[in-house]
Symmetry: C3
Subunit: 462 residues, 3 copies
Amino acid sequence: MLESSFFTKFLQLSDFRTLAFIVVLVVLFKVINVLQKKKVSFSTRMITGTVIGLILGVAVQAVAKFPDAPKDVAWINELSGWYSLVGGGFIDLLKMLVVPLIFLSIIRVIMNMQGENLGKMTTKTIGMLIGTTAFAALIGIVLAILFNLGQGFDAGNNTAEIREAVSLAETVRGLLPSNIVASMAEGNIVGIVIFSAFIGTSIRRLSKKYAETIEPFVKWVEASYKIIISVTMTIIKFMPYAVIALLANTIISNGVGVLASVGKFIVCIYLAIAIMLVVHMTIAVLNGISPIAYIKSASEPLVLAFTSRSSLGTLPVTVETLQNKFDVNEGVASFVASLGSNMGMNGCAGIYPALMTIMLAQITKTPIDISFCIMLLVVIAISSFGIAGLPGTATLAISVVISGMGMEAYFPLLGAIIAIDPIIDMGRTMLNVSGTIVSAVTVDKSLKRDAAKADKDVKKVG
Amino acid sequence: MLESSFFTKFLQLSDFRTLAFIVVLVVLFKVINVLQKKKVSFSTRMITGTVIGLILGVAVQAVAKFPDAPKDVAWINELSGWYSLVGGGFIDLLKMLVVPLIFLSIIRVIMNMQGENLGKMTTKTIGMLIGTTAFAALIGIVLAILFNLGQGFDAGNNTAEIREAVSLAETVRGLLPSNIVASMAEGNIVGIVIFSAFIGTSIRRLSKKYAETIEPFVKWVEASYKIIISVTMTIIKFMPYAVIALLANTIISNGVGVLASVGKFIVCIYLAIAIMLVVHMTIAVLNGISPIAYIKSASEPLVLAFTSRSSLGTLPVTVETLQNKFDVNEGVASFVASLGSNMGMNGCAGIYPALMTIMLAQITKTPIDISFCIMLLVVIAISSFGIAGLPGTATLAISVVISGMGMEAYFPLLGAIIAIDPIIDMGRTMLNVSGTIVSAVTVDKSLKRDAAKADKDVKKVG
Amino acid sequence: MLESSFFTKFLQLSDFRTLAFIVVLVVLFKVINVLQKKKVSFSTRMITGTVIGLILGVAVQAVAKFPDAPKDVAWINELSGWYSLVGGGFIDLLKMLVVPLIFLSIIRVIMNMQGENLGKMTTKTIGMLIGTTAFAALIGIVLAILFNLGQGFDAGNNTAEIREAVSLAETVRGLLPSNIVASMAEGNIVGIVIFSAFIGTSIRRLSKKYAETIEPFVKWVEASYKIIISVTMTIIKFMPYAVIALLANTIISNGVGVLASVGKFIVCIYLAIAIMLVVHMTIAVLNGISPIAYIKSASEPLVLAFTSRSSLGTLPVTVETLQNKFDVNEGVASFVASLGSNMGMNGCAGIYPALMTIMLAQITKTPIDISFCIMLLVVIAISSFGIAGLPGTATLAISVVISGMGMEAYFPLLGAIIAIDPIIDMGRTMLNVSGTIVSAVTVDKSLKRDAAKADKDVKKVG
């Protein structure tokens, strides 16, 4: 008995079940490994991983007899720690690549760009991102009204705290990098994009007269980029394993009882997400991609986003997919993906605040007329630009929007929803990534069309 | 009315006046833009921007009927947020360049330096910076006594808190970079200079036997430096726009009534600054530069320092000006400007603590004899070296000096002065930068004289 | 009298003795300087520095009449500030190099490695480090029982606080770098090793097909490495001066009376350290190095570790010694030294927690049987892996181990030992470094033997 008592003690496992489910996870990894050896395609392994993760999560809940607050059950809490080591650890490794990846790829995209395209690309990207976000918000508003969200909602004594709304001026100011190394250490993506854009622009300018002087830096960027992309692909290979742990962990950490009480909200938001995915597929069709091809090609980042709930962690996968599955120009892929992971997020900054605000209005009996809806749409569109790069995006988004609507006093009423945030966050994050992909594809196509028109004066660095 | 109420609400503008003055700023930008198209010289545009900023600031105050505490007026406070987005954002972009600029330029200056010059340059730079600071302190002491500063001063119940004085040993220790990436993230300039100096020295040593091995790094530094300088010049072009917002913002944030109560102090310190500028011009003359040429060539960093109150933000402009307007060797320019933005600041660490200490002595009836003055001079000179690289320099400088004089108990009496600090800070920062420029010019001339004497054994890397 | 009162005031010296002993330190530096000019060997100068530091420390204590709490004596406290400026400043400069040194050297070792060696090297390194740590723990357990540590120990009202034990899952997760720049800024060595290993692996993979594209990065790494090693050697030259200040400072800061009360513990731990050093020498013999040669070659990092008590600060010296004195492959030297400064530390994570736990068991009359000892050994071995990379290693190690043994409630009883930690830390840190050296030598020999067997398919980058 020494070993068992020792292990449970040292590994801080208060229960044999924790150990059992850790072993189960390892066995399931073996399953994926066998599929890999049998040359089963990567996408199929991803889907398999997702299904396995779902079953595993439900199995754990079943063993624990579906508790209302799983985080209070000691062994589930411990098991969650181990599952998130595997799943979250994988996401950490992907996140590790984000700063050098963005730094290098933005410099590359701009230094290799022809003529006036930088301005065009920026405008088109921001336009696509915010446009789709506004559309997502519209769908959210309509559905929320149709579903009568908030009706009969028991406010109880919820205590969700509103995040202090910073003014738009301060928010934008906060995005500017006043120390590039600090911005990198803090993972301020927009700051890194700005710095890298300045570097890339200067390289372009210098490439005429001082090509020889700056060549060592240019080649260093190209070499580093090649290497960091290779590292990304190495890590991505482990994705099917990670999704099992990621999804199982989300499921075991959320009580089933709690879910039921806000079931209508969940149904409503997932319906809105499904509709927006159809919208994205429609946009894909306009760019000559069939809906099935779209979902198939985009499946890896979408599944990862769904299971990991991390836009930033998914970023390297999104860039890789855009380049290899959608034939998007390397530069455009990096640029749109970087901005899209921070700005104009269809789910976090579009559907979600729309639903929440309408729900709040109905709870508080605020009259919802057409001017209220228009104002809400505008507030959401501007916010989706302004909250770029700040952490806790979704919560921040509703804080900003609700403040913008002058309803901040009622924010605590939303506590019940915020308690089950992870369940909502899965679909929300997936939609963000889909919005980014569809924007990148559109911007890329549009730029290629422009280039085909004016197929002259091509200048390239190096 | 929807839009207007929406905009004011969302942009958190409680008043139409905020929006009006934002529009005015944009119109004024257009004026600068027109001047630029008419090929009006950059210096003229800078001066124009300053004058416009001054008028704009006063106009806002006039509309608000010159309130005593403008920061308490909601719309001024909001307007200030927007103006500082423009002005402060510009300074942020310049600051963004400081870490790579110093890192690269210090490596370059040292690796390209002949013979024993590193030691000489360091000694001369520190000598010039501290020498001018001590002289500035002397002028401060004399003027403060002549003006009888502090006489009849109503202490009231001020509550300015003294910054805890760290011992000199700890201060110097704090400047050493124990982790170079952390130093860069914190913007510890002296730490970056030390690290880069070690790198540069090693490159010089290796350049004889291992030239080929280290060449990729050397060329990478040269290329990166070229690029970062180019980025600097790109950003500098927007300076005339920024100064409008920077200066207007300082003026609208400070009450006129408060200014009057400490008017004598402000007159005294600006007189001291003016005298020191004459001293700087005299030093310039000794280096063969006419006073008018000095002021003209130095105008850009001086105006930026005055309006932005940021030594660090001005640093890239100072380096650029030293190289292009004063023909100072690139390396010397970077080296002296880096150190000078942290050490031996004529305004912050010279005049200001001198004035404050004498004033405090007169308020507290401490006898001011010759030994008191000598001791004060020595304390200021040593402090101006010791406080290098720490944030909040000016306040720290008086804390250290007043502690050094054993008068820390009376520090709260200075609260009224500290309340109007921004007004004083403008002149103080400008004088710091002027001191740096004049030091760099002197060091450069002196090194060139030395080099002319021993015009042999020139070794260059690469 | 002005100057003297001024200097003592400004330098915050409340006593002439501080100034006197600062002067003494400068004079002693001159002694080392004379030895250097007389071409006395570096090792001899190191030993001389250590002896001088010891004498100086005792002399200061003697002048202060051996106070019980030297830190409460104002002038000793101030003197300590100045001594630690010299000693700690030197260690800071070495630490400054750690991040780039590890980053560059791990990339180099892996990109230049043949075939399957990376896995082998990692396994062997971790095996050696944890194996020696477990052995050290065994010696600690035996000695603690023989010495009857804790018997008659007066617990008093000690208040040492246990560090909150994080779960193993969280600890390992914390080591993963989720943002490489943040990891660098925080000095997360294991994180940097992981990132660099990914980079190095990708370079190896790309070196076949894309050799030309990645060459600029590869050569940049080689050049930067050469330069950073050169900087390291420059700084190392000042080591004999630094050890004087480092050792003297440790001695003057610790009361003699306090030492006596825990004398038995100190004797016991230093005996254990001595035995482990003999074990290390035995391992050295197995690798064909005589005990005397071992101690002689390893003396520089050992003396520095002893006097500085900083594993991280000693790291660059350890790498340099392994390469130049023990002919260890550059890559292996960096790799083992990096891991060894964080993992499997013979002193901090082996002997020390073993002694402390047995002592605590005896104080609290916990029965110590064979199963208790086996469990303790296993807990220590696993902990020594798990605590890698976290600050305050030794204290954390006992916290984790004592929690693992279920005795956290009694932790405060160890307060008296923790009070004299610096004295113990000297031997402990030295043993860590010796363990690292002996591990590196063994791994290197073992890899060379493997390579000799399969002396084919050698692939090298570039």
